[in-house]
């Protein structure tokens, strides 16, 4: 069941400039799966809304959640200044993540771009735990290849970097091509231009692509209708061509959404 609860920070470190890796102690970890997210509340009372942050890893045994985030504004700046032992209020587990059953035993390519990389890690791990090793294609700006080791452990890893300092020069699509990778299914998270390219690619190849979308959120639980994405068909809940990213997503089949 969804809850708002207080979580204690087990550890936090800066793993690349402005990118923080935070481990939280919380029983919510037990219900968390790849593609889902939590809302993290700033303490500062002038910034009231929860910040959606994806599950990077969920360890149900140790009741710990790993969140990897980029400092983007006030809330994330505040989080980055917290230390082990501090508490943060979180709400979760939110969102409709990946259904991994249809992915098993397929040629899965996980694509992550920039701060869209962290959410793919839990998916790689869950797939591996179910005996399917995915291929990961990660796009970085430069040689700051955060989470590289983690992905190497749970998937076959290819890297692209914008400045060419590591792996293929360019973006994840360039790496895909350069490495001659083929996919039965793509799962992706990253900036909108990347997701659009993947949607197009998947349509051309006739393969399914599951993409994680972002939108500004207020409630995070499906009540406010703030976070919608246009859908091809009339949505079952809204009865218009809009689905709620926070509850119907954030993971959507690319062909179902207008991005």
């Amino acid at each position: 069941m969804k809850q708002k609860t207080s979580a204690v920070i087990i550890s936090q470190k800066e793993i690349a400039p402005g990118i923080f890796d935070m481990l939280l102690k919380t029983d919510l970890a037990k219900e968390a799966h790849a593609g889902q997210f939590v809302g993290v509340y700033p303490h500062d009372k002038s910034t009231l809304l929860p910040r959606p942050i994806s599950i990077c890893e969920a360890d149900s045994e140790n009741a710990s959640l790993r969140l990897v985030y980029r400092v983007a504004g006030k809330g994330t700046a505040e989080f980055s200044k917290c230390s082990a032992g501090d508490s943060l209020d979180i709400i979760g587990i939110l969102g409709n993540g990946y259904d991994i059953r249809p992915l098993l035993e397929k040629k899965i390519v996980l694509m992550g771009g920039g701060i869209g990389i962290p959410p793919m890690l839990e998916l790689a791990k869950e797939l591996k735990a179910h005996g399917t090793e995915a291929v990961s294609v990660l796009g970085y700006r430069d040689s700051q290849t955060f989470l590289k080791e983690d992905f190497e452990e749970s998937s076959k890893l290819y890297i692209a970097s914008e400045d060419g300092s590591v792996g293929t020069k360019g973006n994840v699509m360039n790496a895909m091509e350069a490495e001659g990778l083929v996919a039965d299914i793509i799962c992706a998270c990253g900036p909108m231009p990347m997701l659009r390219a993947i949607k197009k690619y998947a349509a051309e190849k006739g393969i399914p692509a599951y993409i994680s979308l972002e939108e500004h959120m207020a409630c995070g639980v499906g009540a406010c209708l703030g976070c919608v994405v246009k859908t091809k068909e009339i949505d079952h809940h809204s009865h218009v061509n809009n689905a709620r990213i926070c509850t119907d997503g954030p993971v959507f089949l690319a062909e179902d959404v207008e991005i």
Partner: protein, 301 residues
Amino acid sequence: MKTEIEIAGVKWKNPVTVGSGTFGSGMEYGEFVDLSRLGAVTTKGVANIPWPGNPTPRVTEVYGGMLNAIGLQNPGIDVFCERDLKFLEDYDTRVIVNVCGKSIQDYVDVVERLSDEKRVDMLEINVSCPNVKEGAIAFGQKTEALTEITKEIKKHAKQPVIMKLSPNVTDIAEMARAAEAAGADAISLINTITGMKIDISKRTFALANKTGGMSGPAIKPVAVRMVYQAAQAVKIPIIGMGGISTAEDALEFILAGATAVAVGAANFVNPYATIEVIEGIEDYMRRNKVEDIKELIGAVK
């Protein structure tokens, strides 16, 4: 200790409801709170047909609050009756259906469609949404238009009618009086205050709709003032809202003259806010030996 209140003949077990549009039809928050503990559930604005709402971004945060420009996305009255009203049948709480429209006829259609729905205890007429181009707020900013729509709805409504007023007016007392004179059974206020946020790095509007309705703790002093001014102006009951997050906030509205209160955007900040407000009011009454909540309504001196 009595927390029961009555509005237009409808008894609520306690004076706490939710701000329309901040709670869906209760389904989503049912995971966090027992809806049967609420005085009433006020549902998201519903029109005669499905509305797609505005483009995104539709919400953005501001100091001590937020702006929204949802644009009244809703599945239309048919789905609403079949799904949302049905869902609410299982709960022991009052149901207030918030109604929106572009023309008076739109509103009347919805009101008529609801007239035989047993689960609907009251109607709240949203003439104050700042986020849609036609209708809505236009009816809430001119006394003549407010009078006309109120009269028309009263002609067709089977349930008591609450007119939801806009704070984006020069004189809220005048609007309250117009609603009362036109036959409204109650008024609710405030809807959101029109605001704007600009992203200075992109030099764009933060919301696709440019402006949005402001809600949250930041607007509370304006809301309390308007509830007070309205309470001085009319005899019909008032449902007060605007920035209520705690029992202390709710009590300010009640002391200012509200018979009931609604928790709006605070649900997003704290999904348990409604229950905490209800319990906090009870605590306050116990500590201050208030036997009946009615003693507090309008009791500021």
